[in-house]
């Protein structure tokens, strides 16, 4: 199988879907002539021209709202937010408008649009350029949320997301952009269904449910736990956050009896809180130890390398929490 970077996988998915459906267009800052700040939309303008790849001013409220308008009449806009933090700049359009439009119109209109971009810490971008916003999107009904961790999943999911008739937030991670992985050959009908988690590592002792860049951290942590402590974690990659595939997670917990939810955003009101709550609501009998979650410290993300490493919930924190849970 070929290998590609995460960026290239997304670029291919965009290109293929734009070829397939002329209603698909890209809109955002620097996406056209420059090819995107992170070069995700590189060379797409060359192939599709300025009417399919639109460079906007720094007007997030306007161009996100415009994507909504175009989607109302069947176009399939893909909006790039340069940093997913700017969700908050366009928040009215996203949460008061896009998320509610199909519902408020009693289903008379549907909104097939994608908001995509990178989020997350690890590169010292500081408080306003490093946040993870998945729980914000997940909180409001009406927007699906997808956060793939591998190039393979990114490509397959993005293609599905573009074909979906609902608004979808497609969350990339800046630490994943240059990671490499298997990718299907270009132009293959490679579609990964929205709403399906996947077991990325088999194990019998404890289930780690995670997504996005934390998957890589969890995999590394699991390798250490296996080598040093003989603990075998099973790792479920959620891939989609809304709708949550609890079935796959509970199947794993049925095997291990232990659940640890791991993500980079805050534990407070995070996806982990949701997962743990649902575990107690839906499958309390499967839990042989208290379900737990790991998220970042409840502080804004600092710039300093020393402080950023301190607050991000990565490998060491995962290992430490698993060890605590094993002792319980």
């Amino acid at each position: 199988m070929r290998r590609t970077t995460y960026i290239q996988a997304i670029n291919e998915a965009l290109r293929e879907e734009m070829r397939r459906d002329e209603n698909v267009f890209l809109i955002g800052e620097d996406v056209g002539h420059y090819g995107g700040l992170f070069r995700v939309t590189r060379n797409l303008l060359d192939e599709f021209g300025e009417k399919r790849v639109l460079d906007t001013p720094i007007s997030e409220q306007a161009f996100v709202g415009m994507a909504l308008g175009a989607a109302m009449v069947g176009m399939r806009p893909i909006v790039e937010l340069m940093y997913m933090d700017f969700t908050l700049v366009a928040a009215d359009q996203i949460f008061n408008q896009i998320a509610k439009y199909a519902y408020m119109t009693g289903g008379l209109l549907n909104i097939p649009l994608v908001i995509r971009g990178q989020q997350g810490g690890g590169k010292r971008y500081g408080s306003q350029h490093s946040q993870s916003v998945e729980s914000l999107y997940a909180h409001f009904p009406g927007i699906k949320v997808v956060a793939p961790a591998t190039p393979y999943d990114a490509k397959g999911l993005l293609k599905s997301v573009i074909r979906d008739d609902n608004p979808v937030a497609f969350l990339e991670h800046k630490m994943l952009y240059f990671t490499r992985g298997d990718a299907p050959p270009p132009d293959e009908e490679h579609l990964i269904p929205i709403g399906k988690a996947e077991v990325k590592r088999e194990g019998s002792d404890l289930t780690i449910a995670t997504f996005s860049y934390c998957l890589l951290q969890a995999l590394e942590g699991a390798a250490t736990l296996h080598e040093k402590y003989g603990i075998d974690c099973e790792i479920v990659d959620l891939r989609t956050i809304e709708p949550l595939d609890t079935e796959t997670i509970w199947e794993s917990v049925a095997k291990t009896g232990r659940l640890l939810a791991v993500h980079e955003s805050y534990a407070m009101c995070g996806i982990g809180a949701e997962l743990v709550a649902r575990a107690y609501e839906e499958v309390p009998h499967l839990l042989r130890a208290p379900a737990r979650r790991v998220g970042m410290a409840p502080v804004s993300i600092p710039v300093s390398r020393a402080l950023e490493e301190e607050v991000l919930p990565w490998k060491e924190e995962i290992i430490a929490t698993v060890l605590e849970m094993e002792r319980e």
Partner: protein, 383 residues
């Protein structure tokens, strides 16, 4: 001069009739100018890039800039050079991997900050953008602590938590640089409001880029500030690029100083690379603000000589454009001024050497500063 430049100067010659240097709202026939301008633009746009068409020297709207005392010019030179050298040191450090994240330098922008800082008083307020190192230093921040902050060290002014994009120094009136384009403008309006509510004569100035113009919050702030006659100065550092996209590609209007006039605001376009012009413009704007006449919009035409941020490969603009702009960059302009005043080369060289040495010390201080204690990460969430 190019066709586009001619179009613009034609529009401006009408404009310039409004003495002294900027038009009072409604005092001149702005709409006529705009119509003419729009008609011309539609004919010519966007064949030519405004990035290369409007050179700073073409752009000053006949603002009267009385010569500043040579002593003050020398101080301004020292200040501008300090900024330049700090930025160069920071770029070098970034290349060595000592700085992460997004670091935007102000190389080429120095005069906007220096001219403005010298025109305002202690006690006045300022907010600015992630491209805010020059404002920080111009307003009196210590370069050593500034560099330490950018490097994420314990001696940084925000203990390494804010970094390059969030320069702040309340003791100097600098209430914060912002990572979100446009977000700092309403903050400055709020500072101006506080000054007005308390009956003080402080003014606020907010700096932003040409790209920020297209954020809704800017326009909301223009309207409120003009309507309430807030003691506020909007200063746009128009470097003709918004990240990697030239501004003509996304702006409906070339001369953005015309926009605020529809909010009834006095506005002017000036050479932002000339400290004396900037000083004169900001002085006039501050005088209006303190006299209760409301906000002024200043568009300082400038040019960013380095990349948008450290690591920018700059594939989106020709090297020739950068070379051409070097003739108009603030330090070159300042040196020309000093020489024309008869300042000896040796005196300039002595300043160069002093600033160079003190910058070496600042860098050494920052690099010698420890990493913050991890416990620091958990402080300041609440006070």
């Amino acid at each position: 001069m190019t066709q586009r430049g001619e179009t613009q100067s034609k529009a401006k010659s009408t404009d310039d009739s409004a003495a002294p240097g900027f038009s009072q709202p409604g005092a001149n026939d702005v709409s006529g100018v705009q119509d003419d301008w729009v008609a011309q633009t539609l004919k010519t746009s966007p064949a030519i890039s405004i990035t290369t068409d409007i050179l700073p020297s073409d752009s000053a709207m006949g603002i009267e800039a009385p010569p500043l005392p040579t002593e003050q010019l020398l101080e301004m030179y020292r200040g501008a050079l300090t900024i330049r050298l700090m930025e160069e040191s920071l770029l070098a450090a970034a290349e060595e991997g000592k700085i992460g994240g997004a670091m935007h330098t102000a190389i080429g922008h120095e005069a906007n900050a220096i001219g403005a800082a010298f025109a305002l008083r202690p006690g006045d307020y300022i907010t600015c953008t992630y491209r805010g190192h020059h404002h920080g230093l111009a307003w009196g921040m210590d370069p050593g602590r500034a560099i330490a902050e950018v490097m994420g060290r314990a001696d940084g002014f925000a203990k390494g938590k804010g970094g390059s994009m969030h320069f702040v120094s309340p003791e100097h009136g600098l209430m914060g640089a912002n990572g979100i384009v446009g977000a700092q403008a309403p903050h400055a309006a709020g500072l101006a409001l506080a000054s007005w509510l308390r009956g003080e004569d402080r003014v606020a100035i907010t700096f932003f880029g040409d790209g920020a113009f297209y954020q809704g919050v800017m326009h909301e702030t223009f309207n409120i500030a003009a309507k309430w006659k807030l003691p506020l100065i909007f200063y746009c550092e128009n470097n003709r690029y918004s990240e990697m996209t030239p501004i003509w590609r996304t702006s409906s209007i070339d001369d953005i100083y015309l926009f605020p006039r529809s909010y009834g605001m006095a506005s002017m376009q000036i050479d932002g690379n000339d400290v004396e012009v900037v000083h004169a413009a900001v002085s006039q704007a501050a005088a209006r603000a303190r006299a209760g006449e409301g906000p002024t919009f200043i568009e300082g035409i400038t040019y960013r000589l380095a990349g948008h941020m450290a690591g920018d490969l700059e594939t989106y603009r020709p090297q020739a454009e950068i070379e051409m702009q070097k003739a108009y960059e603030p330090l070159t302009v300042l040196r020309q001024k000093l020489r024309a005043r008869g300042v000896e080369e040796t005196q300039i060289a002595a300043i160069n050497e002093e600033v160079d040495e003190s910058m070496d010390e600042a860098v050494a201080f920052a690099e010698g500063s420890p990493w913050p204690d991890p416990a620091e990460a958990y402080r300041d969430v609440y006070t």
